[in-house]
Amino acid sequence: MYLLKNLLNIFFSLRTTLWLLGFSLVMLFAGAFIMPAHDEFQALHSSPLFEWIQNQPLKVTWWLWGLIGILSVLTVNTLLCSIESIINKRKVTQWLLLISPQIIHVGFLFILLAHLLSGLGSSQVMAAAGEGSEVKLSGGDTVLRVGDINMKYDSYGYLTDWDVSVEYLSDGNVLHRDIIRPNQPSTRMGFNINVRDLRPYPVEAVLLQINREPGALWALIGGILFTLGIVTLILLKIRMEK
């Protein structure tokens, strides 16, 4: 019982938060020097993080394992500290001041959830294609056909704009037509299809990048919550000082 109480006290402590943030910094610093020095990381985007990491030598991934472990403990610590803060200060009149740091924490946890989901299920496939080429999308019988590739250049020869029309086909039938433009991917069936690169000759061709990113929506929700919380906190602090 005494041991359990001590353990809970550790998880409820701000001091633990600081240690965990400190350790996560150490892991990130290590990764910042290990990552550029090893080619293994070039393939990190082609498969989910948790699948990739299991097939790599520990000498290049130990900091990522460490970071995952620290973030797991930090998640528990964040949840417990937020709950404790709300319970202890529930009678304060400035409830916005109480709740805004907790909104920041919830936003942070959603961002971690996003990375967890992406780490488990993201994928990235590159495919070179010309006009009329077909690319099979994984996990079904749907095929992506590339239509017209249009590129616009200025008088100096700089590419100023482009668009690529695509069709989704199943058994030869067109399911959907779309146009990919800069910063306007084609999103369908959980895929996010972008044009990574374009080549004007000898024949017009594109390098398609087909992504699946299951954490994207959660990352956006987390980011919005985090921002709402921190903006509210700053505004309240300014108002209190006035």
Binding site: A32, P36, S118, P182, N194, A216, L220, F226, V231
Partner: protein
């Protein structure tokens, strides 16, 4: 370029005549707007333009923070020296005058970059407050440094969110494993540590001042070191 030379001189001579800091700022704002009008886009690509924007942002934030100070000479002098250094460095780097690639022509990119450099400037202001606190031991300096970090952290968070949205639209993923993203995470974790540490009494004072100074060193490496020395989506 002569506007830049004048602004550099104004920042340096602000050590003797403080209003020249504001003259330097106005000259750089004129330079940034004239570059924008000439290029027909936001002039925030490459080290030349970003260093000027960083110097001007630091001077502008310093002017705002100076209102809260009784003795502002050491603070403003330090900012003037840093702004002059950034300006001098910018003058040695080439301008990037080519049109933006289509993928960079989006409001997400513009918000991402502007907010990132404004947050860097605020982290720089916090470092200056840390420095003057270590010298003068006035608690107001340390408190203002904390405020600069808090606002900078908010802008930095927004910048990362806009960057994530842009990356998702441009490349299909909100997170790319490159050294820049990793150093950005380091910066985010570092200032998260800073803000949490300040909730504990032990850290208030000298430790926070030192953390503020070290934070700006990490900021500068994330900005210049990674972009110049390492291969990433943000390389110059």
């Amino acid at each position: 370029m002569w506007i830049l030379a004048l602004s550099f001189g104004a920042y340096l001579f602000a050590l003797w005549k403080r209003p020249l800091l504001y003259v330097g700022l106005v000259l750089q704002v004129v330079y940034i707007f004239s570059r924008g009008a000439e290029l027909g886009r936001l002039p925030l690509v490459g080290p030349h333009d970003t260093l000027i924007f960083l110097a001007a942002s630091m001077a502008a934030f310093a002017a705002a923070f100076a209102y809260a100070l009784k003795d502002r000479s050491r603070f403003l002098n330090s900012v003037a020296v840093i702004a002059a250094l950034f300006t001098a460095f910018a003058m040695t780097t080439p301008q990037q005058n080519s049109p933006l690639p289509p993928v960079l022509k989006t409001i997400w990119f513009e918000c991402h970059v502007v907010l990132a450099f404004m947050s860097y400037a605020l982290f720089g202001i916090a470092a200056v407050f840390g420095g003057v606190y270590l010298k003068d031991r006035q608690t107001s300096f340390e408190g203002l440094g904390y405020r600069a970090v808090l606002i900078g952290y908010c802008l930095f968070t927004l910048s990362m969110i806009f960057g994530g949205i842009w990356a998702y639209l441009a490349w299909g993923t909100y997170w790319i494993w490159t050294p820049k993203e990793l150093w950005t995470s380091i910066l985010f974790a570092y200032y998260s540590f800073y803000l949490h540490a300040r909730l504990r009494q032990w850290w208030i004072g000298r430790p926070m001042a030192v953390l503020g100074i070290a934070g700006f060193a990490i900021t500068m490496f994330t900005y210049l070191g990674v972009s110049l020395l390492m291969k990433s989506s943000h390389s110059f």
